[in-house]
């Protein structure tokens, strides 16, 4: 017990100790921000891998580590699409995963937003054109937010999630 406390005290708080990520290459659309409005204070994410190389997954996992600690912004990772507000989709959508992706989209309760994470999800990346790939993601389900990079750094993912928590610009009347 003493050892554990000592270690924790020695380590201190590491949250936020990371370099700032590059600015997102595609700014968030007003539509996406508007759509994310109900989830501003709490966003529950279901991650779906449709054939990534697994580096994008690793960066999603990194969001949960103490350095990025995405939970402090009210972002949770759900175990089931039934509990999710947002789908984060990685990978170019393989022939074998196409059905599963559509099923997950259907199973996610409305309203929902879809985030395409990584170059593969956005335009199939290096796997474009292959006989085994039918993507990109927006060929199969509507995509609201795109986070480019191969893979995007966790800080960059975090910045986009931050952006979704903005107050939507009030429409002119």
């Amino acid at each position: 017990m003493f050892r554990i406390l000592k270690k924790s005290l020695q380590t201190g708080v590491v949250t936020g100790q990371h370099p700032a990520g590059a600015a997102p290459s595609e700014p968030l659309s007003q539509d996406a921000i508007e759509k994310a409005k109900p989830f501003r204070r709490s966003l529950t994410i279901r991650e779906v891998d449709t054939g990534s190389c697994n580096a994008c997954e690793m960066e999603m996992n990194a969001l949960a580590n103490p350095v990025y600690d995405v939970e402090r912004f009210g972002v949770h990772i759900a175990a089931s699409p039934r509990h999710a507000d947002a789908l984060v989709v990685t990978g170019p959508v393989t022939v074998n995963m196409e059905r599963a992706l559509k099923a997950v989209y259907k199973a996610t309760a409305d309203p929902k937003i879809v985030i395409a994470l990584g170059d593969c999800a956005i335009h199939c990346g290096m796997f474009k054109g292959s006989y085994a790939v039918t993507g990109p993601v927006d060929r199969h389900i509507p995509v609201d937010v795109r986070i480019s990079g191969c893979p995007p750094r966790p800080a960059e993912i975090l910045a986009v999630l931050e952006g979704l928590r903005q107050e939507p610009a009030t429409s002119k009347t």
Binding site: V48, M60, Y131, C150
Partner: protein, 530 residues
């Protein structure tokens, strides 16, 4: 490595009728065997106590359009010699059948099914001819690695259902899991047959992520496919790109400079380090010990940020290139690496003590998910999982590549084969990696980074290369084609070999322990499915 010649002569003497040609390809002794005699020769190599050969790789090549011929190649690692031996056989013209060796060698099971799915060649006598890579909705007759199959063909969809193995009995029911899992993990399907809590049977059904990587390689130039190899399995970017580069370098006769070889070693060990530390944390997390998970996650992040500072990529992408390495490290950077790793080692050791002082955690690890030595041997299991189950193999020592011949790595080795043993192997390797990186810093020679090719390979020339990545042996076979293109690239991530073994390790355990067992294997889905 010892001399394989006596072994070759012995096999030749035992099978004078069956062997039609003896030669060597880049130092690997090669025997051309008559098709019908293959199972006997393979069985002899596997069971003869003087060889104890295990099947390391089985691949097929379609030689069209140059020749109407398929070639099947069986690579054996002879345990008694630590040497490779290659058996080769041909299918001419319209021949589509070859005798299966699976009844003699479990390890050939998935390879033969893979060849059937991708080339349409039929392993006669194979006990399980269900589809593996091509799921049931793929139309009949679509064999993507045949040369007359266009790489960008759009496939239709047909009806079809995979028949899972069933077991019957009172109170036995099935639990299907996947392809999409609860956590942030890659897709795969697990079908448990359970009687109450204990698992009676587990069937793994994968290849959801099949992206056609091997066919994509065939569209690329030899010199330009490094980025694709980095994306076969993202967490093993360095391991895969290194194996690919080495194969091309053998083909082009490139002599990589000592400095580049040392730097490659350093990057490969950095990759091993962040993955192993992440795995230790994940294993603790699956026993619900969140504290260790948080500490390991923090240290892993520290290493990823270090990677980013050194190379501009958290996954060390872009460091390997054909002929050497694409970037250099200054003396100052190396000194910083050493300072940071020294601190990290102390930090990590403290966590190790905390973890092993926690009886409720260690109790979960002991005797969970035991993979026995004999099953590991039958399935030719390799890497971390093999070394925890009494398979004493590590390419860094057995067939040194990069700068490992100068560094004498110590090999972690345990026999009990449970989750604890796999964790122990990782812990030992973490300390050894840090030692190796220190060693690299001390003895890094000066020199150029990239060496030039001596010649361009003839179409049909091929080379095999092997790298001990953090999961285990990564093998690449690269065959040159016309106009600098790749004719064939066989990629073998260690996961492909170790996945079938997990079906055995799970038996008799309770379902809630499966995530823990799976984590302790931590195999790649992307590298397996290709």
């Amino acid at each position: 490595m010892s001399d394989a010649r006596p072994a070759v002569e012995q096999v030749q003497a035992a099978f004078t009728q069956a062997i039609t040609e003896v030669c060597a390809a880049h130092g690997i002794p090669m025997l051309r065997v008559k098709k019908q005699d293959l199972p006997t020769v393979a069985h002899f190599l596997h069971t003869n106590p003087g060889f104890r050969g295990s099947l390391s790789l089985l691949w097929a090549v379609d030689h069209r359009p140059r020749e109407a011929r398929y070639e099947l190649c069986y690579l054996f690692t002879l345990a008694e010699h630590k040497d490779w031996l290659l058996l080769v056989t041909d299918l001419h013209g319209d021949e589509r059948e070859f005798p299966s060796i699976t009844p003699h060698l479990h390890a050939a099971k998935w390879y033969e099914r893979e060849i059937r799915d991708l080339f349409g060649l039929i392993p006669v006598g194979h006990p399980d001819l269900r589809r593996l890579v091509r799921h049931e909705h793929w139309p009949k007759g679509s064999y993507p690695l045949k040369k007359d199959f266009p790489w960008d063909r759009v496939l239709g969809r047909v009806q079809g259902e995979y028949a899972f193995r069933k077991i019957h009995g009172e109170g036995i029911f099935e639990v299907p899991v996947g392809p999409i899992h609860a956590g942030i993990i890659e897709p795969g399907h697990f079908r448990f047959s359970v009687a109450g809590e204990p698992i009676m049977q587990l069937e793994v059904r994968h290849f959801w992520k099949h992206r056609g990587v091997e066919k994509l390689f065939e569209q690329q130039q030899l010199n330009e496919a490094v980025p694709l190899s980095e994306r076969v399995s993202g967490d093993t970017s360095v391991g895969h790109s290194l194996a690919y580069c080495q194969a091309v370098e053998t083909l082009q006769g490139v002599e990589v400079s000592p400095r580049a070889r040392y730097l490659r070693t350093l990057f490969l060990e950095l990759e091993r380090l962040h993955n192993h530390i992440g795995d230790v944390g994940a294993i603790c997390n699956d026993t619900a010990y969140a504290l260790a998970h948080a500490h390991c996650g923090r240290m892993k992040e520290q290493l990823m940020q270090l990677n980013d500072r050194l190379t501009g990529s958290r996954f060390l992408r872009g460091v390997n290139c054909v002929g050497g390495v694409a970037l250099d490290l200054s003396g100052l950077q190396l000194a910083q690496v050493e300072v940071e790793l020294n601190a990290l080692e102390q930090d990590f050791s403290a966590i190790e003590k905390i973890v092993f002082a926690n009886a409720s955690l260690t109790e979960r690890l002991e005797n969970t998910g035991i993979l026995t030595e004999s099953i590991a041997w039958d399935h030719a299991v390799i890497g971390v999982v093999g070394r925890a189950s009494g398979i004493d193999r590590d390419l860094r020592r057995d067939r040194p590549f990069a700068a490992y011949d100068m560094l004498q790595p110590k090999v972690a080795f345990y026999r009990y084969g449970d989750v604890r043993a796999r964790m122990r192997v990782r812990l030992d390797e973490i300390h050894e990696s840090i030692r190796l990186i220190r060693e690299v810093r001390r003895s890094l020679p000066l020199g150029r980074l990239v060496s030039q090719p001596m010649h361009q390979p003839q179409p049909g020339a091929w080379a095999l290369s092997a790298v001990e990545g953090w999961r285990g042996e990564i093998l690449y076979v690269v065959m040159a084609g016309d106009a600098g293109l790749i004719h064939r690239c066989k990629v073998r991530d260690p996961s492909f070999v170790n996945w079938p073994a997990i079906q055995w390790a799970a038996l008799g355990n309770i379902v809630p322990d499966f995530p823990l067992i799976n984590k302790s294997f931590n195999l790649s889905y992307a590298g397996n499915d290709l």
